[in-house]
Every structure is written in C-alpha cells, then in structure tokens.
C-alpha cells in the first residue's frame, strides 16, 4: 500500500467524557461494597445534591476494586462538575461516615493508567 500523506488535525476539547479515579474511605474499617452497591452509592450521592434529575446522570464504573473501594468512573463532560461536587459532599453511607478521595481526573482515560504523583523513590 502506498505511504499515507501527511495530515495534522487539532481538536479542541474533543472528549465527550471525563474520567475520574476515586477512592472511598470509611471512618470505620471493614466495610465492604460490591460493584452494584458502589454504583448505587454514586447514584444516591447525585440524588442528595441534585435530586432525581441529577441521579439520572449516566455514570459508568469502568473498573472497581472491592478491597480498596477504588474505581475509575466515566461521565459525560457536561456532567463532570455535578458528579465531582456530589462526591465531594457525600459524607455518610448507612449512617457510617465516609469520604470520597478524587485521586485523578482527566478527559483522557489513557492518562489515568499512570499517576506520576504516586511515584515513590525508596
């Protein structure tokens, strides 16, 4: 096949989605949540702050680790502020105090596969 011709395209804000790497911390130890329960928790966080309309915001859990309660979430870019603020203000689950830590946010999922701020030089 003949070599392709040079072409350059610059896209401004092309990502329809934003990705968040988050971790849920409980004040008490030993609380476990499966993926469906974690998703339900996200929905209630959105509902607490933004009502039924907010709760309907589509959020995908791309990865979930039950041991550490950490996940990579996908949300449409127009819903980023709503989701992030809901996570920030979520304080308790079934009367147990907890907090979301938002570790990384990016419109590029590939950027979440590594975090240079977590690099440890022993």
């Amino acid at each position: 096949m003949p070599a392709t011709a040079y072409k350059r395209v610059v896209y401004r804000s092309p990502s329809e989605h934003h990705y968040l790497k988050v971790c849920l911390e409980f004040q008490e130890h030993g609380i476990g949540l499966n993926t469906a329960q974690f998703k339900q928790l996200l929905v209630s966080a959105l509902k607490d702050l933004f009502g039924e309309v907010g709760a309907a915001l589509p959020v995908d859990i791309l990865t979930y680790e039950e041991k550490t309660l950490s996940a990579i979430l996908r949300v449409c870019s127009s819903g980023l502020a709503k989701l992030w603020s809901s996570l920030t203000l979520f304080g308790a689950y079934k009367n147990k105090k907890c907090a979301f830590r938002v570790i990384q946010v990016s419109p590029f999922l590939l950027a979440l596969s590594g975090n240079s701020r977590e690099q440890v030089l022993d």
Binding site: A3, T4, V9, S106, L109, L110, G114, L121
Partner: protein, 321 residues
C-alpha cells in the same frame, strides 16, 4: 442561568492527531519524541503477540537507571564543573521530586542545558532573577537521568541513590481491538475507527476496563469502538520511572522493525506519559496542572510504516507543536 451553564462546563483540553509515514523525509516523529523531556511512563501494546521478542525485551530491561539526590542546592546545577561534566555532554535531564507544579517551587534541567524554575511569588522575589509570570497561575530532592558512573561519584557528598525503572509485562487474551485504516484519521463509517476512538480504547485496555458491556448494563456501558476484531492475544508492556527521550526513540525504531517480517498484527501502539508536575511539556512550552496535569502522546505504528501520532494536553498547556 449562568450558574447552570457553569455547572455543565469542563476544562478545555487539546488533542493533536497527525498521520504520516516513517519513510517521509520531513517526518517529525524523532523531533517530537526528543523534545518531550520528562517522561514518567512508557507503554506499548502489540496485538497478536504472546511473548515479546528477545530484542524488544532486552531493550526494555536495559532502559537504564535514573538517580535521586536528596537536599541538593540548586546552585550546584549552575557550577562550571557541573556544566562541563554533564550538561555539555547532552542527554542530561533533571526534575524536582515530589513538588506539585500548581503549589510548590519546581525546577527542571533540560537536555539542551536550560534550567527552568517555576517559583511562587516570594521565592521569585528572593532570587532576584529576571523571569516572566506563569501563564497559568530550595533545597529539594531532584531526580536525574544521565551517565552512570560519573553521577554516583559527582554527587557523593549528597545522598544519591540509583533507581531502576519498573517494568511490567502481561498478555491479554481475546482482546477486542478497533479496526483502523492508516489513511483515515477520522475513521470511515462501518469500516474503520477514528484516532480519537482508538485513543480512548487504549486507555480502557491499560486501565483494565471491561470492553464489552451491554448498553443496558447498570454498572458500565463502555464498549470497544466498532468496527472491531478479536485478537487471540496481545502483549502489554509498561515501564515507569524517569525515561530519557533518546531511549524512547530507540524503542520506537525497534517497534517499527517489528513489521520487517510479516506479522498478523496490522498495527501496534507506543504511548508515553509525561510527569504531571514538569514545568514544561514539549520544548519549552509551559506546562501547568489544572485538574489533571496530563501531557501524553501515542504512536500507532502500521505494518506499512504509516503512523499516527496523537499528542494530548490539558487545560494549562499550549497546543503541542
């Protein structure tokens, strides 16, 4: 209404997609790799490959060490002896460790000999240097990459430590891969996926996300972009540390040679992620950390030596060159 509008806004980001061929005289691939100085993570994906060739594996294992020096005063980097021993030889790169570009003072030494300081207002006034305000708003541990034996002896009066990059190799089975056409960055309906779709998919693979969810799935609806094919196996390799651009160029060349013999794979990818807290992205373009600090690039290398190059940056960055 203004509040509602602001709620729906996300920070701007930029993606440059280029297509060319490695055989083109004016191909900029080497230059773009060389001028992206502070690389934290390099990964590549080879479809239809169960095990890396000996050459590739050796290349990855021998990327070379990097060094950390604790409590190094910055003035050591501008002494005549230091410049003569390291900077003039080229291939010397340094970056402060554990400093956040949006909060702390940060310093970086580029291979071309320039020392970049990103300082808060008080420190800037104390230094009395001539600079310009950041476009986006000590004594530190620094990490370096350079020639081995000289480093250990030169910085022996400070705590210098050698580190090896971390390498991880894995094989993924039954991987759904997008179908691509090298001549078509934007894809073709029902025939080929676009460069943007490929970039997203690559992220899903390296984050180990499920690629085949149904649209009604409660947990996730993410799917591999279509059209796609399933490959029996694919090799993923990731190196993290402080990696010199020269090493990445050598790796790129070796990956191009992968197609010297006929292979089942139609393409492979090489992705590089920069340090979120580097004060520069490409060349001396100022880099900032707004919400993500991302500056990364990805090559898609086709079997006919065509390539795509995607360069992505976040809100506090200039457009990649």
């Amino acid at each position: 209404m203004a509040t509602l509008r602001r709620l729906r806004e996300a920070p701007r980001h930029l993606m440059v997609c280029e297509k060319s061929n490695f055989g083109h005289e004016k191909s900029r691939h080497k230059h773009l790799v060389e001028t992206h100085y502070h690389n934290y993570r390099v990964s590549f994906l080879v479809p239809e490959c169960g095990m890396l060739s000996k050459e590739l594996k050796n290349l990855v294992m021998e990327i070379g060490p990097y060094y950390s020096v604790k409590n190094l005063p910055l003035h050591e980097l501008v002494t005549h002896e230091f410049i003569h021993t390291f900077v003039k030889k080229g291939s010397f790169s340094a970056l402060t460790y554990n400093t956040s570009i949006d909060e702390d003072n940060t310093a970086a030494l580029l291979p071309n000999g320039k020392l970049i300081l990103s300082l808060n207002k008080d420190t800037y006034e104390e230094t009395g240097l001539q600079g310009h305000p950041s476009r986006y708003s000590g004594r530190k541990t620094m990490k370096f990459s350079a020639e081995e034996s000289t480093m250990m002896s030169y910085f022996s009066k400070y705590q210098i430590q050698e580190h090896q990059p971390k390498v991880s190799l894995s094989t993924v089975r039954e991987l759904q891969c997008p179908v691509l056409q090298s001549s078509s960055l934007a894809g073709e309906p029902e025939e080929a996926c676009s460069a943007l779709e490929l970039f997203d998919w690559l992220g899903a693979v390296f984050c180990h996300a499920d690629l085949d969810n149904q649209p009604y799935n409660f947990i996730s609806t993410y799917r591999c972009p279509q059209p796609s094919t399933v490959v029996a196996q694919a090799c993923l390799c990731t190196v993290t540390g402080f990696i010199l651009p020269e090493k990445i160029n050598v790796l790129l060349e070796q990956l191009c040679h992968y197609f010297d013999e006929p292979k089942l794979a139609p393409w492979l990818t090489l992705s590089v992620q920069g340090f979120a807290d580097s004060p520069v992205s490409w060349r001396e373009n100022e880099h900032g950390f707004q919400k993500g600090g991302e500056h990364l690039y990805n090559f898609v290398i086709f079997s006919n030596q065509d390539y795509w190059l995607q360069m992505a940056v976040g809100a506090n960055d200039d457009c990649p060159p």
